[in-house]
Subunit: 229 residues, 2 copies
DNA sequence: TCAAAAGTGTTGGCACTACACCCATGT
DNA sequence: ACATGGGTGTAGTGCCAACACTTTTGA
């Protein structure tokens, strides 16, 4: 086997799968969306890809993901977690790239519309165009992780403003999991986690009984290392 | 901020936390052990560290972990999974290293004793010496992951020979989780997973009723990407 | 008064724990 | 016979889905 003239070094990139909730263009139902970036050079020029970039030598992994997020959406994430490191030799033609991928949750209302311009566009997460590299597989895995994790950890609040009703919270779960949930049982289960604190106030002007407002209270931190932002 | 003369590139390493079961030297109870490698150069020269090495340009991540495993224990893993990518800027003095860490389960009987020589030594996982870099934190996280995962996925068989009794399987769980488990309930729960197939034969010569032998049957594969060895 | 969602109560099923009990072997 | 773990049965408990029902608002 001959040593080709190709760069022998392995380069390291950090990419981020960014999720937000927004109504589906057809059905109008709340759905997961994510921003993609159009590639402006080979390989895969013109195709859509996950936002990201090379890891700088003086930059933590999380910091790199946060910078990508800031560049892509103009905001700081409400939730950010490492997803997986992808490193198959052939995942990029010509050169060798290992990507450490993060996933993030943001609030759609906060996304600066200005950024959504030239090379950034939001897509329905379950109906994406063809993606560059192995990014389709990565998104699938991120989706699976999000859907699994929302059922056993309180991350749904990352999609919501500081104060919200239980109906809001339930709507997030329903959108992410693409199901309907029993309001009564959801309420009990949500309150059972001890992560919700009633603000004492109610939401007014609802054409029905005013729902109580809650705030999220951080419980025991997850055992994941290094993510102490 | 001045650019120092230090290498500006980020280097990428793959390390592996290798677990095996072996009796505790004092209590005699089955316990988790893992092999460490003595560092033969700075930084942390003379200290114990996780086995691993730089990622070769033509090598998959899993392959790299497998090579480390082969080098350290002389065998192929029965279970291998990516743990996490550790990349804090200051985790190594002087240079910048991102480590993608795997964890593996092996059978103690298979470990080639010859390898356990010069710079490799096995330690009780819950009673380690001071480790180089952030490796103590890494081991803690690997232990947590193993103990969590053994409760909801059938990985215990990776410590066992192809055929085993339910008592063997239970002993593995008890050793990993450091508890005792009710034999009757453990049996039902284990059989409930539908991953155990009775071989039809029984283990003879036990001074009591001969226990049935089982074989592990792979169920639905996990949704983790890329680990299709 | 009515519609609509908030919030509470009730019931049946399922899973898991604890523990009693019988079974099959070697000594 | 008896000690030892293998293996089965069973009652109690707690969680969860389903769904009936009451409450509180705006229109």
């Amino acid at each position: 086997m001959t040593v080709s003239s190709i760069d022998q070094r392995v380069s390291l990139a950090v990419s981020t799968v960014i999720f937000a909730l927004r109504p589906h263009p057809e059905s109008g139902l709340m759905t997961l969306w994510l921003p993609l970036v159009r590639r402006i050079r080979e390989p895969y020029e013109g195709m859509w890809a996950l936002p990201g970039g090379p890891l700088e030598a003086d930059e933590d992994l999380v910091a790199s993901a946060q910078h990508t997020l800031e560049r892509t959406t103009g905001l700081a994430p409400h939730y950010l977690e490492q997803l997986y490191a992808f490193g198959r030799v052939d995942r990029s033609p010509d050169d060798r790239v290992v990507s450490i991928v993060y996933w993030a949750l943001v609030r759609q209302e906060e996304v600066a519309r200005a950024v959504d311009g030239e090379n950034v566009e939001w897509f329905v997460a379950d109906d994406l165009p063809q993606l560059a590299f192995d990014h389709a597989q990565i998104v699938d895995y991120a989706l699976a992780r999000l859907r699994a994790k929302i059922t056993y950890t309180p991350i749904a609040h990352a999609f919501l403003p500081p104060e919200f009703t239980l109906a809001d919270l339930r709507a997030v779960h329903e959108a992410v999991l693409r199901t309907t949930l029993d309001p009564a049982n959801f309420r009990r289960q949500a309150l059972g986690t001890k992560t919700l604190v009633p603000t004492g106030t109610c939401l007014q002007g609802t054409s029905h009984r005013p729902p109580a407002l809650f705030r999220f209270e951080a419980g025991a931190p997850s055992p994941a290392p290094e993510e102490h932002r």
